[in-house]
Every structure is written in structure tokens, then in C-alpha cells.
């Protein structure tokens, strides 16, 4: 049971993936198909972000290895929540105490999957924009966005 709940992120990924995939396959309305495609892609973003998370890891932002002033500015810039923010400040202070030696006492989450997903999100947006543009053109030509009606019109012409 703990396995089941502990992996809940992955269950959400699978649920979203299947939902999106089903919509792509089952819906005749072209806009709905594109929405399904988006859900499908989003599930993959979630998959990557989940695998980048390290237990008890903080946001991967350098703190504490510099002098006091700059570390204040840096942790200020961190977009963490209250708790994470406090933790960062705390560990940063630890690092500061043992000054001169670069000590990394924090556990960081892996930033690479998130960075990869930034690229994938851009790709996803480009795909959606292109798909919507195509739907606009299809609507202009056929006057409908229901796939079965379009195919019917093509068969008759």
C-alpha cells in the first residue's frame, strides 16, 4: 500500500497519459483531439519533473559558497516556498560558518529534467499553435471541425 501511495506521482502520470491518448483516439472533434494531445504531452512533463526530484532535496540554487552579501541576494532570488526558503537560509548559514571551505551540505534536486522539460514545453506550444492554425484552415475550407463530417464531404466530392 505504501508502494502504491509513495509512487502516486507516477500513477498520476499514467492516468493523464491514458486519458490524453484515449481522447486523441476516440474524439472526432479536431479541437478535442488537440486537447487530448496536450494532456498526453503534459503527462510526460510530469514524468520528467518527478524523476528529477530528490527526497528532501531543495531547489538546485547555489547558496553559501560566497560571501554573506551575495548569498543574501541569491537566496532572495530563489523562488522557493516559505519552508524551503528557511531551510536554504539555514544551510547557507552553516556553509558561511565554515568559511573558506566550499561545503555543500544541502541535497539538491536534479535540475536537468526540468531544463529538458522547458525545451519540451516550447516544442509542445509550437505543435499546438501549428495544429490550431491547421484547424482554422480546415474550418475555412469545410465549414466544420467534426472529422466524420469532413471525411463524409471528401467522400462525396
Amino acid at each position: 500500500m505504501t508502494d502504491f501511495l509513495g509512487l502516486y506521482n507516477y500513477w498520476i502520470v499514467i492516468f493523464l497519459m491514458m486519458t490524453g491518448f484515449y481522447i486523441v483516439i476516440a474524439r472526432e472533434n479536431l479541437i478535442k483531439t488537440i486537447i487530448g494531445l496536450n494532456i498526453f504531452q503534459t503527462s510526460v512533463f510530469l514524468l520528467y519533473i518527478t524523476m528529477g526530484k530528490v527526497t528532501n532535496g531543495t531547489a538546485p540554487i547555489l547558496t553559501g559558497s560566497h560571501s554573506g552579501e551575495s548569498h543574501g541576494a541569491e537566496s532572495h532570488g530563489a523562488e522557493g516556498h516559505g519552508a524551503e526558503h528557511g531551510q536554504e537560509l539555514h544551510s547557507a548559514a552553516e556553509g558561511h560558518l565554515e568559511s573558506g571551505v566550499e561545503v555543500v551540505t544541502e541535497i539538491y534536486s536534479n535540475p536537468i529534467p526540468s531544463v529538458l522539460m522547458l525545451t519540451a514545453i516550447v516544442v509542445g506550444i509550437a505543435t499546438t499553435a501549428l495544429a490550431l492554425a491547421l484547424v482554422v484552415r480546415i474550418r475555412e475550407e469545410y465549414g466544420t471541425i467534426e472529422e466524420d463530417e469532413i471525411l463524409e464531404m471528401d467522400r462525396n466530392s
Binding site: F21, V24, L30, T33, I34, L37, F40, Q41, V44, L47, Y48, M51, I112, P113, L116, T119, A120, V123, A126, T127, L130, A131, L134, V135, R137, I138, E141, Y142, I150, D154
Partner: protein, 496 residues
């Protein structure tokens, strides 16, 4: 300058594309696009000629190998890049008249910019040594090809493009899931690095799932039967020039990515012994060859006929790969090259018909052999190549495939291959008969011969199918070197 060549292949067309959108003058953009394409072709030729001194590895931005992105040029990638950029250059030289007729004037500079982006993506997939980079380039080439296909004249073009977009995006996303799972296992995206780390891992379920996702994703992009449904419509309704380029290159680059996946990232032992992918691949290829060839026989549109034939020809390439020995792999790689030439040439012939007759229905092409003799003759020569008649490029790759099948004592495969060539005879002959031995249709009667600006590039490509049918040093020879280095790498990996 010389050591920067690998990155210039990508940077030049990638930077040129947005610049051309800004320039906007269609005559100037056309000229510059041709210049860029021929420059890139020149670079790939010089890269391939450097291969005798060993493979090149280029670190982007000076970041060392497993951390930064590397571009790898070896025999295989240089060879694939050579024919992608070569056909890209020759098709764009052929293009102006056809684009003039089939694409609206206001869209010309956008058209050429997308064309360059598509080429960038395909070349990038060949050269990069970073798995995520493959996905990005795959999407660059796919997105621009969706846009190019949607520019077709008929109203069915946007619908065909949208169908391709939906199926293609699902395929690319599958590939992305596979990359994610591999990253989860190994913590790296560099292909060579992944390969060395996978050696240490015995074999886990994650690895199987990753491999399955990536294979299916690439199968969609390759249009392997039965995942080919997007292809006939996309090829049929796209502008002729786009069909020439995409049919000749896009599916082959996916085959290339598949070869890399099996032979560089995973091992053939994993793919073919742990998993029965070789027999599955063989079955899919053979069924695909027969079903698609049979479907081609019944088509009434010449472009759709060739599209189905493309689905069948992908089967021959996979058949070679599935044999997993030097001979089979050589045959598969050679067929990638030969088929790119043959199908590129045949679609260029179709583009000439589209320009002068204005219809691609077989009934409207009746009797065109009298009014367009040069174009029709090009069809005959290209068609012989597709069938695999001796002295043509198609014969070379089929012969290699056949000898390789016989050396493995796969008699049924050899027999089925010969039978499937007969189906190609039927659909090619059907068109020949319509062109030469049927009473002329009223469209064909008034048609003029295609302009020299289109005929000369067509004949160059068709001529090369004959050249590489007689003289195989630079087709099968390079493919053999590529196959040996692929299998050599994996054997070394096994020893380590």
C-alpha cells in the same frame, strides 16, 4: 575553420531560415536558399571525405563530452547527411517552377524558410550524439514538414497535415518517454555514455519499456506497416517539391535513428536475442512489403501509388537491419541511399507531370508519353530502378539483401523478396502502359514537355540511379564501412 565544419552543417541553415523570413523578397530568398543548400552539401562532402582519417567528434561550446552536447560524424552519419543535403540541394534547384505553380506567392519566402528548417532538423538528427537533442531535431524537422505539407493546393492538404501532426506528435512523445526512462536509469543523455552505463546494468524492466517506447515512436516516424496510415495522404496532398524532399529523406533519417538506437545505444544482443525484435521486424517488413505493394497496384493517383510503394520500400531497409550481420546492415544502409535517389527521382518526374498536366489521376496521364517524352522516359528508368533490374541502383541493394538472406539460409525470405519485386513490376508497368500505350486524354494532348530547369535536375538524380547501379564504391562501399564500424563498436563494447 575546418574543425568547425560539423557545427556549420546545422548552424548555416538554422540561422538562414529566420533571416529569410525577414528578407521576404521571394526571388532573393530562392537564390539564397539554393546557395545555402549547396553550401551545406559541400560541407557534408568534405566531412565524408575526411572519414578515412577516423570519426570526428565536435564538442559544442567547448563543454567536454558527457556533460555538453557532442556532434559525432562517422561513416554512417556522414553518408546519411550527404544524401539528405544532396537531395535537398538538387530538389531546391528543381523547385522554382513547381513552387511558382503550386504555392501561393505570398508564402514563398516562408516556404523556403520551412524547407531549410526541415533540412536542419534531418541533418541534426544524423549528427548529434545527444539523445535529447535527437528529439529536438526530430521535432524541428517534423513541425516544418507539417507546415510544408499543409501548403498543398487542395483543401485536403491541411487535413492530411493535421493527421500527420497528431500521429507524428504521439510518436515523438513516445520517443521522449523512452529518453526519460533511459535518463532515469543512467543519469546521462550522451549516447556513448548511456551505452557504456547500460553495459553495467544487466537488464531491467525499465530498459525494456524505454526500448519499446523508442522503437514504436520511431516506427511511426518511419511509417512502418501498420503505422503508416499518415503517409499516403501526407505525400499525396503536399506540394510536389515537398513530397520529393520528404519522401526521399525524412523516413530514411528515422531509419538511421533506429539503427543508432539498436547498434549504438542498446546492443544487437539486447534487441535481437533478449527481445525477439529481429523476427518481429522481419514479419512486419515482409507483411508491409506485400500489403503496401498490393495497395499501390490499385491506386488511381500516381502520387499515392508512389507513397504506398515508399511504405513497401521501408520494409526492405528494415529487413536488412533485422538480419543483424554486416551483409544485412550494408544492404539496409545501401537501400536507404539508393531508395532516396530512386524515389526522389520518381517524385520529381511526378512533379513535372503536375506542372504540365495539372492532374495526377492516372486517367488524365493517359498518352502523356507522346507529348512529354523526356519526362515519361525518366519514369521508365526510375521505375526500373525501383523494381531492381540489373544495372540500376535498386538491383544493387536487393542483390546485397538477397545474398545476405541466403547466407543466413533464410530461403522463405529470399523467395518472398523476389515475389514482392514482381508486385513492383505490376504497379510500375501499369503507369508505363498508361503513359505510352493508351489513347491520349484531352489534358495530356495539349501538355507541353516539362521545362529544362526541372528536367535537368530530374535526369541528374535518375542518372545517378544508373551510375550507382554500375559503380558501387561510393554507395555500397561506404555502407559496408559504416556497417563494419557499427558492428565493431558493439563487439568492442562487449569485450569491455
Amino acid at each position: 575553420m575546418i574543425e568547425q565544419l560539423p557545427v556549420l552543417v546545422i548552424v548555416i541553415p538554422l540561422m538562414a531560415a529566420p533571416l529569410f523570413v525577414l528578407i521576404g523578397n521571394r526571388k532573393l530568398v530562392l537564390l539564397l536558399t539554393q546557395l545555402v543548400c549547396w553550401t551545406v552539401f559541400g560541407i557534408t562532402v568534405s566531412l565524408l571525405s575526411r572519414m578515412q582519417y577516423g570519426p570526428i567528434s565536435y564538442e559544442l561550446g567547448g563543454w567536454p563530452s558527457p556533460y555538453g552536447i557532442v556532434y559525432n560524424v562517422d561513416y554512417l552519419s556522414a553518408f546519411v547527411m550527404l544524401f539528405v543535403s544532396g537531395l535537398g540541394a538538387i530538389v531546391i534547384t528543381y523547385a522554382p517552377k513547381s513552387v511558382e505553380r503550386e504555392v501561393h506567392h505570398s508564402k514563398h519566402s516562408l516556404f523556403y524558410a520551412s524547407y531549410l528548417l526541415c533540412m536542419t532538423g534531418l541533418l541534426g538528427m544524423c549528427i548529434t550524439g545527444d539523445l535529447f537533442n535527437v528529439f529536438v531535431f526530430l521535432e524541428i524537422s517534423s513541425l516544418s514538414s507539417y507546415a510544408l505539407i499543409s501548403l498543398g493546393k487542395t483543401r485536403r492538404a491541411p487535413l492530411a497535415a493535421l493527421h500527420y501532426l497528431i500521429i507524428g506528435t504521439v510518436g515523438a512523445t513516445f520517443f521522449l518517454i523512452g529518453i526519460g526512462l533511459l535518463y532515469q536509469m543512467t543519469g546521462t543523455l550522451n549516447m556513448a555514455d548511456i551505452a557504456s552505463r547500460l553495459q553495467a546494468i544487466e537488464s531491467s524492466r525499465t530498459m525494456l519499456v524505454a526500448f519499446a517506447f523508442m522503437t514504436v515512436g520511431l516506427f511511426i516516424k518511419m511509417a512502418v506497416f501498420p503505422l503508416h496510415t499518415w503517409l499516403p495522404n501526407a505525400y499525396t496532398y503536399a506540394p510536389s517539391v515537398v513530397t520529393c524532399f520528404i519522401a526521399a529523406t525524412a523516413t530514411k533519417v528515422s531509419v538511421y535513428a533506429f539503427i543508432r538506437l539498436i547498434y549504438v545505444i542498446f546492443t544487437p544482443q539486447f534487441a535481437f536475442e533478449r527481445l525477439p525484435l529481429d523476427s518481429a521486424l522481419m514479419a512486419f517488413s515482409l507483411v508491409g512489403i506485400f500489403v503496401a505493394s498490393a495497395a499501390a497496384i490499385y491506386q488511381t493517383n500516381i502520387k499515392r501509388l508512389l507513397a504506398y510503394s515508399s511504405v513497401a520500400q521501408i520494409g526492405y531497409m528494415l529487413l536488412g537491419i533485422s538480419m543483424s550481420n554486416v551483409g544485412g546492415l550494408t544492404a539496409g544502409i545501401t537501400h536507404m541511399f539508393n531508395h532516396a535517389l530512386i524515389k526522389g527521382g520518381l517524385f520529381m518526374v511526378v512533379g513535372c507531370f503536375a506542372l504540365r498536366i495539372g492532374s495526377l489521376k492516372l486517367e488524365d496521364l493517359r498518352g502523356a508519353g507522346k507529348t512529354m517524352p523526356l519526362t515519361s522516359f525518366a519514369w521508365v528508368v526510375g521505375g526500373l530502378g525501383l523494381i531492381g533490374v540489373p544495372m540500376t541502383a535498386g538491383f544493387v541493394s536487393k542483390w546485397l539483401l538477397l545474398t545476405s538472406a541466403l547466407s543466413l539460409e533464410l530461403w522463405p525470405v529470399a523467395v518472398l523478396m523476389l515475389l514482392s519485386s514482381l508486385l513492383a513490376v505490376v504497379y510500375i508497368w501499369r503507369v508505363v502502359e498508361i503513359l505510352y500505350f493508351s489513347p491520349a486524354s484531352h489534358l495530356a494532348k495539349t501538355a507541353k514537355e516539362a521545362p529544362m530547369a526541372m528536367l535537368i535536375p530530374t535526369y541528374i538524380v535518375i542518372g545517378f540511379t544508373i551510375v550507382f547501379g554500375c559503380w558501387t564504391v561510393y554507395s555500397a562501399g561506404i555502407a559496408h564501412a559504416a556497417a563494419e564500424s557499427l558492428l565493431g563498436i558493439t563487439q568492442m563494447g562487449g569485450v569491455q
